[in-house]
């Protein structure tokens, strides 16, 4: 199978380039996903660099751009990919080396939405009750693995890196707004009421298209907008 992989070595001082690789898949039934193939290639060319951990789509380490589309290497079957498989780092962020990008901005945006539960009532002895219906509001939100596939597919994120929060952070903002146990709604909304932080989203849907966990940041953003409108109205 043929691959064309983005290479960048900051110490060599060269410009980034695409490097061709070939992998013989005969007698390698265990090589099923793109990540398996990258690991095989690295066993031969150890300078090839990428992040990985869980190898099952739950840790969010190996987001990359695969044949033009952001996704997780570990759950992208080789069988579904056209050759040569073109692998690039996630777009729109500084590249540290090869497929490894600098996620500082992405994490800063995540922290900016205060992604933690706030409840000012005295702590009860037992759990805070939540009905199954209230809990169901969190499905499709809490599962985010912070892989950055969505944000780095979003044009608004590319063009307004320090002002627009991006779909991943906004999905988390909504995760707490939607939680029946959270009491910080007012402050959370104040933090988002700004022409850029939230409203730069133009509902292009790239984020929802690429999310490897099937989450829907566009809808979450829509819900926040609705909530703000309702508050204003």
């Amino acid at each position: 199978m043929k691959f064309s992989i983005y290479r960048f070595d900051p110490e060599a001082g060269d410009k980034p380039s695409m490097q061709g690789y070939e992998l013989d898949l005969v007698d390698k039934p265990h090589v099923r996903m793109l990540l398996d193939a990258l690991i095989e290639l690295k066993a031969v060319d150890e300078s090839l660099s990428f992040r990985r951990s869980c190898r099952e789509g739950v840790c969010g380490s190996d987001g990359m751009n695969i044949n033009g589309r952001n996704g997780l290497a570990c759950i992208t079957p080789l069988a579904d990919l056209a050759e040569p498989v073109v692998v690039r780092p996630l777009p729109g962020l500084p590249v540290i080396r090869d497929l490894i990008v600098d996620l500082t901005q992405f994490y800063t945006q995540y922290r900016a939405v205060k992604p933690w539960l706030v409840n000012h009532d005295p702590e009860p002895e037992t759990e805070r009750a939540q009905t199954p219906a209230e809990r169901a509001e969190l499905d499709g939100l809490y599962e985010c693995i912070l892989c950055a596939c969505c944000s780095t597919a979003c044009p608004s994120f590319w063009w307004n890196p320090d002002r627009f929060l991006g779909p991943a952070a906004l999905l988390q903002a909504w995760r707490f707004l939607a939680d029946s146990r959270d009491q910080d709604t007012g402050e959370r909304l104040d933090g988002l009421e700004d022409p850029y932080r939230l409203f730069r989203c133009h509902t292009i849907m790239n984020c929802t298209d690429v999310c490897p966990k099937g989450l829907n940041p566009t809808r979450a953003i829509g819900k926040i907008k609705q909530m703000l409108l309702k508050r204003a109205g």
Partner: protein, 587 residues
């Protein structure tokens, strides 16, 4: 070259559930704490835990902590320390509730309380009816807990060193641990982190086996660091094989599937667990179910053209239950086994899952070793919690759902003890340059250029050897052969070379450093297994099929290059209740 330096009151190495729970306790007590992790915190392996966390809340079936304690002692095949087990089971309910307050989105019952599912080895009333004790957030409980703990830590302003790789502990002549040397992965620069207290929370070492449910980062680094600092590892022969890894691939299918009513079948469609565990059936302890599967396959009742796996059937649960309670499992099965469990059973095989053994600690998380005065003398300034540690609450076999509990209970306990220790030890001790040089040697060694075997070659061979020579069933002959094979790998590793000597984000170098740890831990595992001539929990010897309480009610202690092995007694005395004396273990 002298590395840059930073100073903290406490250095936590590892940002999984164990490290983050401890860090939170410290940050909330205004301790100057730093957390070092080789991956961004939410990429730690805790994120992969599926089924849930045990606590006798009694939301679904009647329950109390004492029954939970009984089940844990029995599950451990009586090798668990009963004081630590009592402590953990007593604390469980309070800590689950606390996690809920931190924001964990637990699945709910109609009355608004936390949903609990049955898991293996759980009973009411000391061995009676099945209990439902495992608190779950669908089948993504680890993800839910890890993210909530990380979020609370950002709120508490814990200092994080993300993507820093810890190389070695710094320990002075008097035995005090003074921090650690780490490598900033992005720049390739070493950083010396001085700390009055150091907590290891680096997780398990499942990667020493070829087929495993563990993440690629689970290379037992903290255990390797401990060994190099002269600290023994406890009970390393006890490695848990999870009955239901996806055959051939290793991804985990949670025990929660059987808790929800799924069961195992062989080639004839027989629900074979009824023969091995008439009472608990598919929810017997993991060691029992794993052995049963291995026997079915050995006796030619395996499924598939190679007859090399059994099937986990759950289609009878119906699409609704599968979609609402086991969505992640369905995703994994479709992806890695190519079957949708709503329609077809999942092919499964026992897969290396959990390291019961580890760095010996007491129930405050203090690392305790045999030194001058007794078998359990504290190493000043050093703590360990979670899968890298051995408290020991899991003994010879961990119960499902007890590890997420272990990490929060002892993470918190260690945090509290560190606060106390810092009160009595207010100053940094002088750092010995020779110790730092020794740690720097680990990096220098890989600077050597030239030809030599590659790291992946040795890594793959090691994992193959462990699978073949130290698997579910063991014997003297096979273990002895395995031991000499692992020793050979260790010798070859000395001459292994890196081709890539760059500094920036050199992942090949990280893999080399990880392999050094894995090899030492594999040696500890096989040596300990070869010495234990009995069968107990996850350690099954075909040549010694019975448990031998007369000679082997004791914990193994392995120290690098020191023979013979050392042993220490099991702590049979609980904190307040009567001990559970060893009984025959039937399910």
């Amino acid at each position: 070259m002298k590395p840059a330096r930073r100073r903290f009151d406490c250095l936590v190495i590892g940002a999984g559930g164990g490290g983050l729970r401890a860090a939170l306790q410290l940050a909330q007590s205004d301790i100057h704490v730093a957390v070092v992790s080789k991956v961004f915190p939410t990429r730690s392996h805790t994120v992969a835990a599926q089924g849930g966390m045990n606590a006798a809340l009694g939301n679904v079936t009647p329950d109390n902590w004492h029954w939970h304690m009984y089940d844990t002692v029995k599950g451990s095949d009586y090798l668990g320390d009963q004081d630590a087990i009592e402590y953990m089971c007593r604390a469980a309910s309070r800590l689950v509730v606390e996690l809920e307050h931190f924001g964990v989105p637990f699945t709910r019952l109609d009355n608004g309380h936390i949903y609990q599912r049955p898991f293996g080895g759980q009973s009411q009333n000391f061995g009676g009816e099945q209990a439902a004790r495992t608190c779950a957030a669908a089948d993504r409980t680890g993800h839910a807990i890890l993210h909530a703990l990380y979020q609370q830590n950002i709120r508490a302003k814990t200092h994080f060193f993300d993507e820093f790789f810890a190389l070695d502990l710094i320990r002075d002549e008097e035995g005090f641990v003074l921090g650690a040397l780490a490598l900033e992965i992005e720049t390739g620069e070493p950083l010396l982190i001085e700390a009055k207290t150091t907590l290891l929370a680096t997780g398990g070492a499942g990667r020493m086996y070829r087929t495993t449910t563990n993440a690629l980062i689970n290379t037992g680094d903290g255990m390797g660091m401990a060994l190099r600092a002269g600290i023994p590892l406890e009970d390393m022969e006890f490695q848990q094989f999870h009955p239901t890894g996806i055959a051939g691939a290793g991804m985990l299918i949670t025990e929660g599937v059987r808790g929800e009513g799924g069961y195992l079948i062989n080639r004839d469609g027989e629900r074979f667990m009824e023969r091995y565990a008439p009472h608990a059936k598919d929810l017997a302890s993991r060691d029992v179910v794993s052995r049963a599967i291995a026997i079915e396959i050995r006796d030619d009742r395996g499924c598939g053209p190679q007859k090399d796996h059994v099937l986990l059937k759950l289609d009878h649960l119906g699409a609704d239950i599968i979609k609402s309670r086991l969505p992640g499992i369905r995703e994994s099965a479709i992806r890695f086994a190519g079957t949708d469990p709503i329609e077809q059973p999942i092919p499964v095989y026992p897969t290396l899952h959990y390291t019961m053994g580890g760095i010996p600690t007491d129930r405050h998380g203090q690392v305790v070793i045999p030194e001058k005065t007794g078998p359990e003398e504290a190493v000043p300034g050093l703590y360990a919690v979670g899968e890298c540690a051995c408290v020991s609450v899991h003994g010879a076999n961990r119960l499902g759902g007890n590890s997420l509990l272990d990490i929060v209970v002892f993470g918190r306990a260690a945090g509290n003890h560190i606060v106390q220790y810092l009160d009595e030890h207010r100053f940094h001790r002088a750092l010995d340059a020779a110790q730092v040089d020794r740690a720097m040697q680990r990096l220098a060694r890989w600077e050597a250029h030239g030809d030599g075997e590659s790291v992946p070659t040795l890594y793959n061979e090691l994992r193959q050897i462990m699978e073949q020579y130290c698997g579910v069933f063991r014997s003297q002959e096979v273990l002895d052969e395995g031991l000499s094979k692992v020793r050979r790998i260790r010798e070859r590793l000395i001459d292994a070379r890196l081709q890539d000597h760059s500094r920036v984000f050199n992942t090949a170098r990280i893999e080399a450093l990880e392999l050094e740890n894995l090899v030492e831990i594999a040696l500890a595992t096989v040596s300990s297994a070869a010495a234990r001539t009995e069968s107990r929990g996850a350690h099954s010897r075909v040549d010694y099929p019975d448990r031998d309480d007369v000679n082997w009610m004791k914990h193994t202690l392995y120290t690098t290059d020191s023979e013979p092995l050392d042993y220490k007694p099991v702590r049979m005395r609980p904190m307040s209740v009567d001990a559970f004396p060893p009984k025959e273990r039937v399910y």
